[in-house]
């Protein structure tokens, strides 16, 4: 399965761009028998499926990635080959029916890896193409609300990863972090980290999806790791760490312990903001090598 940082790297053709919003054609009736569609699992692949649906006038019974095709005993999915040019046309064409923010929400819905994401994207796009006006605020519609809520979840996960990444510096000056987000958010966090850490090389590795972002001081690229190969050791062993790395980890833990105000202890709130499943990647939530010694600066009452 191919991955990309942006939904479509191709530039918009001028012919389509000038059409934007002025011509709002209503989508053709899907008058032929419904079909089961299969595609290669990429976003471009799904966009190609959307094109085929209207080209064949056959609504989808299901749209599934190739590896995961299920269905009734007699279901014969139509396999759609990804076509980048078609995908680019569809991606641009969506702007006739929705603004960029709404279109981005569809891409985020795709990255959410929800099992019904393909049909949800189809239903949203179909609704938009038949509505005759912008539907993105129509929260009374279940599909619109669902897409909005998935986009919101994606945003939250993206924001959490921007917060919870903890880099470790290796002896050759690379800042490395491993994450395990609930959704596939690496494409969404790439611009943030690229802007912020412009003067250091860094690598953020998504352990579950086995791919990463690598910035080499010039640009940020996707780096893939073969899932069939031997398990890559994601925890960089202590021998290759920069010599001051253990010091900064210790200082950070020490800082974290001392900014806490014990009189205000509120573990429930703590865990709501920082759910347990993220703790294993946060150095401040790891066991301490030294015992915590509070600063004695208060005279207790009584």
């Amino acid at each position: 399965m191919s991955r990309s940082l942006t939904p479509n790297n191709r530039r918009a053709t001028t012919a389509v761009a000038t059409n934007a919003s002025s011509s709002r054609r209503i989508a053709p009736e899907l008058s032929n028998a419904a079909l089961d569609y299969a595609y290669d699992g990429s976003f471009e692949g799904l966009l190609t499926v959307l094109f085929t649906v209207y080209d064949r006038k056959s609504a989808p019974n299901s749209i599934q990635p190739l590896g995961a095709v299920q269905g009734g005993l007699f279901a014969m999915p139509v396999q759609i080959d990804t076509d980048d040019a078609t995908a680019a046309r569809v991606w641009e064409g969506l702007l006739r029916y929705m603004d960029k923010e709404a279109r981005t929400r569809l891409f985020h819905t795709f990255l959410s890896e929800q099992s019904d994401r393909e049909l949800l994207i189809f239903r949203y796009a179909d609704l938009a193409m038949r509505a005759g006006r912008d539907i993105s605020d129509n929260y009374a519609d279940d599909n619109v609300r669902r897409v909005a809520s998935i986009a919101q979840q994606m945003y939250r996960e993206k924001h959490r990863m921007e917060a919870f990444v903890r880099f470790e510096k290796t002896s050759d000056g690379l800042f490395h972090a491993t994450i395990d987000p609930d959704f596939d958010v690496l494409p969404l966090i790439a611009p943030h980290f690229t802007k912020r850490y412009a003067d250091q090389r860094w690598l953020i590795f998504d352990k579950r999806r086995r791919y990463g972002l690598y910035y080499d001081l010039q640009r940020t690229d996707i780096v893939e790791f073969e899932s069939t190969g031997p398990q890559r050791n994601t925890a960089i062993s202590a021998t290759v760490l920069d010599e001051r790395e253990p010091l900064f980890k210790l200082l950070w833990q020490s800082y974290f312990d001392h900014v806490n105000i014990p009189e205000r202890k509120n573990i429930k709130l703590h865990r709501r903001h920082m759910p347990l499943r993220y703790w294993r990647y946060l150095s401040e939530k790891q066991p301490r090598e030294q015992r915590f010694e509070p600063i004695k600066n208060k005279r207790p009452i009584g």
Binding site: R196, L250, S254
Partner: protein
């Protein structure tokens, strides 16, 4: 640099800085245009949360906890017998850069005890942030304290390198300040505050005229009020807040529930910080900044304290039953925002979605409206969820103790404490 000594300094100086509750790292306009380190545009990020549930966004430290002042409420007061420490300029720079590079923090929050003189202290603070900006190409967020009594030139210079400046008022009335912090006075606090306000205004005007203007505290200024260390009521606190937002253009006023630190007879002898009261003050602050409420709608001389049991928006609605019920299909956005149980997001959704179809109670539930509270105050398509016309006390009881009522653990815990005490 001795590793163990630096760890000890960090422990002491972080511990002494933590009672300053300002944590925001948002609203900056500093972009990383020089391929340097960091970016402080737009939204802030909370990188971690301590066990008290507060966020860790900035490396919040004092340059030193040596102090010539003797403010009763402060752990670093001169007469307190504590370990003292001081960072060097390079130590702060090194910590900030290395914490930032590892994505631990959004930037630096630098404050200090006052040693020798206000100017001497301020000059050191400026030297640190100048070095970060000019020598290390650091574009992360910097919040720095303006030391009361420091010269205008130094505060002006600090504003060039910092995204936010703040001066803490600490005590909500001049009388309390005189009593608990005899070396301080309102004039010395309000003078730099006014100077920062004017600096920000001037900077904005210049930006409108010229293309390239140096930044001046683009994330604005904030202050902090300690709650519960002195006798002021909520009306006094909120009136002060209101005048700070209106008169000094502050971005934020923070409230810090007084944490008992000493048996000094001038301070209340309590064992627990007033956490719900602090929470209600923050809710009131939000109502004024984001919900269009005026200070005198929430508190007045007849009601000088916030209701600890219910939030201030519900309390307002209970006192103003004549405004309700509000019809969600026809009312203005501003009025929908005033319905208890309807937040900013659901209010926006109601107004957006009703252009497509009339809103039903089922929709409201799906938009995230808390019907348990809202049902007493709204109708849709003439239909109300609670058909009987309840009086104020009945609604209050139903919301607090009725079916499905979930009271915040904080409220239950602290109200129990009150019950025990009385």
């Amino acid at each position: 640099m001795n590793d163990q000594r630096i760890q000890e300094k960090l422990s002491i100086l972080a511990d002494a800085a933590k009672y300053d509750v300002s944590c925001s790292s948002s609203g900056g306009k500093r972009k990383n245009e020089s391929k340097g380190l960091g970016n402080a545009e737009g939204m802030g990020i909370c990188h971690s949360y301590t066990e008290d549930g507060r966020c860790v966004s900035l490396l919040k430290i004092l340059l030193t906890n040596h102090c010539i002042f003797d403010c009763a409420y402060c752990v670093s007061r001169k007469s307190n017998d504590v370990k003292r420490a001081a960072f060097t300029v390079d130590e702060v720079v090194d910590l900030t850069m290395n914490f930032y590079r590892r994505n631990y923090i959004e930037g630096l929050f630098l404050s200090s005890g006052i040693f020798s003189s206000p100017d001497y202290t301020m000059e050191r603070l400026v030297r640190i942030i100048k070095k970060l900006r000019t020598e290390h190409n650091f574009n992360g967020y910097i919040h720095v304290k303006a030391i009361p009594g420091a010269s205008e030139e130094l505060i002006q210079e600090a504003g060039l390198y910092a995204d936010r400046l703040s001066v803490n008022i600490e005590l909500p009335s001049e009388m309390s300040l005189q009593n608990l912090a005899p070396e301080k006075n309102y004039k010395e606090i309000l003078t730099p505050m006014a100077q920062i306000r004017d600096g920000i205004t001037k900077n904005k005007e210049e930006k409108a005229l010229f293309k390239k203007v140096p930044q001046f505290a683009t994330a604005g200024q904030s202050t902090q009020l300690i709650v519960g260390a002195s006798a002021e009521n909520d009306l006094q606190i909120i009136s002060l807040t209101d005048s700070l937002y209106k008169g000094y253009g502050l971005k934020r006023v923070y409230y810090s529930g007084y944490i008992p630190i000493t048996d000094d007879a001038r301070l209340p002898q309590v064992t627990q910080p007033p956490l719900i009261r602090e929470h209600r003050l923050y809710q009131t602050d939000w109502l004024m900044r984001f919900y269009g409420f005026q200070a005198d709608e929430i508190l007045d001389p007849a009601h000088p304290f916030l209701d600890l049991e219910v939030d201030p928006k519900l309390a307002w609605a209970l006192r103003n039953r004549h405004v309700f019920p509000i019809d969600v299909n026809t009312a203005d956005f501003e009025m929908i925002l005033r319905i208890p149980g309807v937040g900013a997001r659901s209010a926006k959704r109601i107004v957006a979605a009703r252009r497509f179809a009339p809103i039903t109670l089922d929709h409201l539930h799906k938009f995230g409206v808390v019907l348990k509270r809202a049902k007493f105050f709204l109708t849709c398509r003439g239909q109300a969820l609670s058909t009987r016309d309840y009086d104020e006390q009945t609604i209050r009881r139903q919301i607090l103790f009725g079916a499905g009522s979930v009271r915040s653990a904080l409220v239950t815990q602290q109200l129990d404490l009150f019950a025990q005490a009385s």
